[in-house]
Structure formats: C-alpha cells, structure tokens
C-alpha cells in the first residue's frame, strides 16, 4: 500500500523528542537502563532553547545557608504557584534536585564555587534562601554542554565495547517530528522529516518521550527561541492526551524593550538577585507599592530594610523586586499604563549604582555583553530599560508525577517545559532547570520500565498510520492555497499578544478565539513555495498548526477561569478565589476544536500540610477542604 511513499525506517526502544535539558536527561536514563534510544531535535545538537537559560538551577543543597532543605523548597514552589501545583511533582522536585545537580558534576559540569569549594548558590525571586546553582549567567549552556558531553562519553564507551558508537544512542539533529503514531490506544512510534532534505522518516518505538519545550513563539514579544512552537503540546493533544492548566503563561517581568529587533530578549532575574532595582520615570522604586497581602510578612516595605537584606538576610525582609514573577510583571505593566514608564514603554532596571563595574562584569557577563552589543548601553554605568516578555508556559501535558507517563496514552511520556502541573499557576525562577533534570530522569526511567514490561508485545505501525502521517506532512506542498506562512504567523502573534496577554478579560478572549478560528481557516490554505530541501517556509507552515492549537488551548482555558491567579490575570475577575483552586482545566482535542474539561485538583496529604502555617493555607484552600484535612 505504501509503495509510493518514500521514507527511511528506524527502530528504537525509546524515542526522545527534544534535546534540551529534559530530553538529554531522559535519554541518558533510558540508555543506562540498557535500552536503545534515539534523540531527535529540530536544531543542531547542543543548540536547544535550554542553552539560553541564565540564572541557575534551584536545588536545596544548603551550601550557602544550611537552613535550606527540601521542605522549604517545596513550600516556596507551592507558594509561587499559588497552590495549584501538583503537590507530588513539587515534592519530588524539591527532594531530588540536589542529587541531580551533584550528578552533573560527576559528568564534568563546573559550577561557580563557594569559599569552601562547594557549589555556590544565588538568590532568586520567591526562593527563601540562596538556592540557585549557577555558572555566571550561562547556567543553561553548562547543563546542555555537560549532558551533550555525557552522551558523547556514553557513545565512546559503546564504540569501545560494541564497535559502534551509535548502537545504543543515536542523535537525529535537524529532524522535526510531525506525528505520534498509535496502534489502538498505545504509542507505536512517530513520524517526521529531515529539515535538510525534506525526506520523511519513520521511527518505530513503543515509547516516545516528549521533551519539546515551550510555546513562546505564539506570542509577539518573547524570550523564547524559534523552537518554542509548542509542537509537543500539539502532538500530545492530537494523540488523545490532555494538557493541564494552559491558561497559565509566565510573562517574565524583565525583557529588553529596545531596540525593537531585540524586544523580548531576556534580562536575567539575577540582575535583581544581585541588587538591581526597578524604578519608574519619576525615579521611584515602585515595587514597594505592589506587595500583595499574602506576601506582606516576607517582603520589606521600605528601602532601608530592603537594602539591608543584601548584607543581612537573617534579620531583614527581602526587597520587593524579588517577588514572584507574576507580581513584578503586573506591577511593571501597571506603571507603564499609568504613564510612569520609560520613553520606550518599559521601566528602568539599574544595577550600576549597586555594584562596582568589575563586579557586574564578573557576575553578569552575558548581560553586560548583550546590552553593550545590541543596545549600546553599558549596564555598569546606565540603567537598562525593561518590560514584560512571554517566557514560559506552566501548562502542559498532564502526566503521572512519578513516571512522567502522559494521561491516557500508554507509551507516551512528557518532561520539561512541555509537561504541566509542577509549577501550578506560576513558576519560580530556577525551578525549570531543576525540573528538567528531575523529571527528565523520571521520564527516561518511566519509559524504560514501560518498554521492559511490554516485552515482545510491541505495538505495530500500520500502513494506514504511515499514510496519514505522510499526507499531513505534505499538505503545505499539495494544497493549492496561496497564504503566506510568515504573514499568518505575524497575525497569530498579534492576536495572542494583544488579546491573550498579561491582562485578560472575557470580551478580548472571545474575540481572540474568533480571530484564531479565522486564522486557522486561512492556515489550511498555506502553500510552501520552493523545494523540500531546507525550506523554512515549509517548516513554518507545519509549525503554524501547532501554535494555533496551543493558542486556542490557552485562550479557552483562560476564558473558562473566572479568577486571577499567578500567570493568569483577568481584569473582570481580579481576585484569587479558593473555589477555583480546586479546579484544573484539561484541554482536549475533539478533532475540530480544543475543549476544556474541568477536573478536580487534589488536596495536600497530611504530612505536607504540616509544612505550612494554617493561616497561610487559609488564603488558598476552601474552608471545606481545610475542615476535611489532608488526603
């Protein structure tokens, strides 16, 4: 039947889609379990979006302040996420992060050190103690390079032992997966194309790990690389799984605002962690006006105390610049709206008056570089202009916390930014890199265990599935429309940016959904011109469908949630409401549109309730939940 479809065929035990932190860690684990593993990525090996991560990876090692421990980290994570987090994920994450960081050292990572030679840890928003393991401001690069080199070292051993470096671990770089294949309800493999040639590729595999990262490219102003087109989110939806809590999108408070071509590029939170302050056009440190009730006892309400904190953290409350990201982003948004913004529509972030020039260059080398080269600003002398930028999606594939198995699709796993639940309604800085390691490892182990249990009962790839994948992949060439994928992408980004952005309301969200529907119709007319070989227009035509699905999922979940919480702010429902905390939104694909299914969120178990003061829990949980007590 498939005689006229040309494709190459590979067979693996586990296919990992994504070579960011999560994918690499998953691959290492599955290989160590003795399986044959493929790593697939859209870019060259070692370029995944994770290389951009700057500030650090959060892990309660207690190297700088030995009061830190997993319970404190767990507490901070739940607080940051406004208790909507999947508590089991937050618990595993807090407990396992230190081991995941230490393990990287044994693979060659070189983190910055404390005076006594241990891994140094830095302060970050929402973390009670200095907690982020880091390498200057290029921590993501260190993670990627370390695991990339770990994979090379495993391949070198395989070459020695088995005579073939790629016998157990093979990297397929610049290959895009467009379809998850199934045999009944189980995963049987995946299908895609080489970007270089446009040639089609079939992977037969009983387990597929999604580690495809984020969705930022659906928004106009974003810190994300081009890879962030939500492919994994869309693949999971279409494979019959569900996404959880997609309304929660993190706008990082500090992206560059000028020049226009770099708008959105991240200014790391370490600038604030290392003493940078935010001021408005009147020169006021405005963050003191935006400390929410729930955080009053943790954050300084005056400059003197805030300044003392950098020297003495035991006896002073932290500066409000270090509030969780959602709070700071909204504050900046309000200042600009109130006319107190900088001339180019941001606010000022200044570290030049806080640290000596050489100290700034040592601690924040890439920031210094970035502003010098892209904006002609010397941050050791001048303030930066910053504003919110779409940075991270908290929502993602609903997974089992312990095994990373995706909801309702046996053989599908998800880890890293593409997975949901861990961060609740708002992620703390530094908690993503550690999340990648903890759940990347768990996904690799989960997939390995699943494959071993299947034994020889492997699902088969049918000709029909291949034909379906082939025809979908070729649509941009075969249809006869004339829409330009670049122009449509632009329109999509405007809709999400303007109508599904930081501050939302019913009217705009409904409006957005209508507009998305019309863009979707036109996207079905997108025609790729030119040939199959390395043709970005063709690539974008396919990515566009994913971005549309993701945007619809975000807009529908956002419309359904009638409250404000973390990365979801409704000006028509400005308050956080404990009744809404009991609900998670599941996005499912009906074949025609995304549908939202409200599901009950779980209560903390008794032993974790004890980590908190009752007064704090009262702010988040309903009376009925608290009366009933822990699970």
């Amino acid at each position: 039947m498939n005689n006229d479809i040309k494709f190459s065929r590979y067979n693996f035990d586990v296919v990992v889609i994504g070579a960011g932190g999560a994918g690499l860690r998953a691959a290492v684990e599955a290989r160590q379990a003795g399986l044959r593993v493929a790593i697939i990525c859209k870019s060259l090996f070692g370029k995944a979006h994770t290389v951009m991560a700057e500030g650090g990876a959060a892990a309660a090692m207690g190297n700088v302040n030995d009061n830190d421990g997993w319970k404190v980290h767990f507490r901070d994570t739940m607080r940051g996420g406004k208790f909507l987090n999947n508590w089991r994920m937050a618990e595993l994450h807090a407990k396992e992060s230190p081991d995941r960081i230490w393990e990287l050292e044994t693979w060659g990572a070189l983190f910055d050190r404390t005076k006594d030679g241990r891994i140094s840890q830095r302060n970050f928003g929402g973390h009670e103690y200095p907690r982020l393991a880091h390498v200057g401001d290029r921590t993501g690069l260190e993670l990627i390079r370390t695991m990339q080199q770990k994979i090379v070292s495993m391949q070198q051993s395989d070459a020695k032992e088995h005579g073939d470096a790629e016998k157990y671990l093979k990297v397929f770089a610049e290959l895009t997966i467009t379809e998850i294949l199934k045999d009944g309800e189980k995963v049987s493999g995946c299908y895609g194309y080489w970007r270089e040639s446009g040639d089609e590729v079939l992977f037969e595999a009983p387990a597929v790990v999604l580690a495809t990262g984020g969705i930022g490219k659906s928004f106009k102003i974003t810190s994300n690389s081009w890879e962030g087109t939500g492919d994994g989110h869309a693949l999971a939806l279409k494979a019959g799984s569900a996404l959880v809590d997609m309304e929660f999108v993190q706008f990082h408070p500090t992206g560059m605002v000028w020049p226009p071509s770099v708008r959105g590029i991240l200014v790391t939170e370490s600038v604030r962690g290392d003493g940078g302050v935010l001021t408005n056009s009147e020169g006021k440190r405005f963050m003191f006006n935006y400390i929410p009730e729930v955080f009053k006892d943790k954050y300084a309400d005056n400059e003197a105390e805030a300044d003392r904190w950098y020297k003495d953290q035991e006896n002073n409350r932290r500066p409000p610049e270090l509030l969780p990201r959602d709070e700071v982003a909204r504050a900046i948004n309000s200042e600009v709206k109130a006319g107190r913004g900088s001339p180019r529509g941001g606010v000022y972030l200044d570290v030049s008056k806080r640290l000596p020039a050489d100290e700034i260059k040592r601690r924040l080398p890439s920031m210094w570089h970035q502003f010098k080269e892209l904006a002609d600003v010397d941050i050791t002398e001048q303030p930066m202009e910053v504003g919110p930028t779409c940075h991270y999606v908290m929502g993602g594939v609903k997974v089992d916390p312990d095994t990373a198995a995706a909801y309702q699709v046996p053989g599908l796993f998800a880890a890293g930014e593409v997975a949901g639940g861990m961060h609740g309604s708002n992620r703390l800085g530094g908690n993503s890199l550690s999340d990648l390691l903890v759940f990347g490892r768990r996904a690799g182990a989960g997939a390995a265990e699943y494959v071993k249990k299947l034994a020889s009962n492997r699902p088969a790839v049918s000709d029909k599935e291949i034909a379906r994948a082939h025809s979908h992949l070729n649509e941009p060439f075969t249809r006869d429309g004339n829409e330009n994928p670049y122009a449509l992408h632009d329109e999509l980004q405007n809709v999400t940016q303007d109508l599904v952005g930081i501050i939302r309301n019913e009217k705009e969200l409904s409006d957005a959904l209508e507009k998305l529907e019309s863009i979707r119709k036109r996207a079905a007319q997108v025609k790729a011109s030119g040939g199959r070989a390395f043709n970005p227009g063709f690539h974008l035509a396919l990515d566009l469908e994913n971005m549309l699905l993701v945007s619809e999922s975000i807009a529908r979940s956002a419309l359904a949630r009638q409250e404000s919480r973390g990365g979801h702010t409704r000006d028509d429902y400005p308050k956080m409401d404990a009744n809404w905390r009991t609900i998670n939104h599941l996005s499912k694909w009906s074949g025609k549109q995304v549908e939202i299914d409200p599901a009950k969120s779980s209560m903390l178990p008794t032993e974790l309730i004890e980590v908190f003061e009752m007064d704090e829990l009262k702010k988040y949980y309903t009376e009925a939940e608290l009366a009933k007590g822990g699970n």
Binding site: W102, T106, D112, D116, L141, A533
Partner: protein
C-alpha cells in the same frame, strides 16, 4: 527610521550557486539576521538560514558577512556604511547544504574523538570540592557556544580539506585544555594526545581563531600556547593537595 539596504546573498546547494542581489528595508537597531528574515518573509520564502536564539547564545547563525566569519544575530546593521552592499555567504570551511546553511558534522566527529571527562573514583556526587580560582580557567573555555567560527577561520582547514582528518581545530583545542585544567579530571596525558593525535602541532599560532570568537575566549593565549609550551615538558606532577579540602591538579600555566 527605516531605510533600504542592499544585500548580496549566496543562494544554491552543494552542486552550484550564485550571489543574488536584493534590496530590503532595515530598521533602527536591527542586526543582519533581522534583515535576512525580512528577505525571507517578503521575497525569498525558501531562503535557508540557521538560527535559534537570536541572542548570541546558541551559535547557530554563523555565516560570513563581507567575508568575515560572524554571528548574524550579533552583527548590527549600523556597523555598515549606508550605501554599502552587504555580502552574506555560507561558512567556507564546511560543505554547503543550501544557501547559508552548511554541513558542520566535521565538528561533531571531532568532538567524538576527544576523550571525555574522567571523574575521580574516590569522590561521590556531592563530595566535589574545588576552589573558584581553579575552576575559572576551565570555565572560560566552557563559555564556548559551538558556533564553529574559529574552525571556519582557521587556515589549517579553511582551504585544506585534506587536513581535516588529522586536525581537531581550535574549538577542540580549548575542549582539551578545559579538561586538562579541570581540577578533578583523572586523565593525565591530554596535552600529549593533543599534540600527537589531534593536530595541535599543525597550529602555527596565527591567532585568527581568537579574533573571531564571539565569546571572546582567548583560544590561543590561554589554551593553545600553554599546551604547546608544556607538551615539551614531559614532567607531570602527581595530584597534590591544597589545604585539607580543596584539591587541584597541577595545571598548565
């Protein structure tokens, strides 16, 4: 504040290709990659170009701009004269795939040839102790974003395909130096191997690699020259202890 600029872009594949002239809008503050994207969005939808972060962090957008190896996302348009025609061509040291995209697999093959970090056997995870001053030297080399601009510019392989077999190139000399200076790495003959197996001897210290490195890594001064100097000195000090906790191996400077 937009203006028209003239670009001459190499288009083609492994078999043939030619420079094509285009005129396109450029706005204030833009970089070459922005302008290439505008060409792609409005005139040449299938123009092949690699990029990823657009922030100088991933090393994907390497190409030659007016003959110089550069990152397109970090090359500001205002560094050119208003009426200058900007020529963009693929990296010359590597085979062309299409347009501005080259086959850089040589570099990944070389990475496979360098022996990996050999972890100390007597330390468990969490027990590593290293002083900041001791890790800093290796950290400089770990800043490398693998843009391969240094590889592209190095005359040993730029026009000498035949040398590629025996020459790892500056990117991998710093990788060797990085491991060699790692306070806890156990392998002791890295410099020797660099000389004997990875072609360090073919480098005649022209420093062109250092000049193009977007991360400003001092490839020659801090990695190549010290290795070359010490390679002749075959004495290796055994592991020695500094204080009770922090240990470090005899480095190369």
């Amino acid at each position: 504040m937009s203006r028209k600029v003239k670009l001459r872009i190499w288009r083609g594949d492994a078999k043939e290709g030619k420079l094509e002239d285009v005129s396109v809008e450029a706005n204030e503050g833009e970089v070459v990659l922005d302008v290439i994207h505008r060409v792609q969005g409005t005139q040449m939808p299938d123009l092949a170009v690699r990029w990823n972060c657009k922030a100088g962090k991933c090393g994907s957008c390497s190409m030659e701009i007016n003959g110089k190896p550069r990152l397109a996302c970090m090359t500001r348009m205002n560094t050119f004269a208003e009426d200058e025609t900007i020529t963009v061509t693929p990296l010359r040291a590597f085979p062309v795939i299409r347009d501005l995209v080259t086959d850089v697999s040589y570099n990944y093959r070389k990475a496979m040839e360098i022996p990996s970090f050999a972890a100390p056997e007597d330390l468990k995870p969490g027990e590593y102790r290293m002083a900041q001053v001791d890790v800093e030297r290796s950290q400089e080399f770990r800043k490398c974003i693998e843009c391969f601009l240094c590889q592209d510019t190095c005359h040993v392989i730029r026009d000498h395909e035949e040398n590629k077999k025996s020459f790892a190139g500056p990117r991998f000399f710093i990788r060797i130096a990085e491991l060699d200076m790692h306070p806890l790495d156990r392998l002791r003959n890295r410099k020797q191997k660099a000389q004997e197996e990875h072609g360090l001897g073919m480098c005649n210290i022209t420093k062109c690699c250092t000049e193009v490195c977007p991360e400003h890594i001092k490839i020659t001064d801090n990695a190549i020259i010290p290795m070359k100097e010490r390679v002749v000195d075959v004495k290796y000090d055994p592991i020695r202890w500094l204080g009770s906790k922090i240990r470090k191996r005899e480095g190369i400077v």
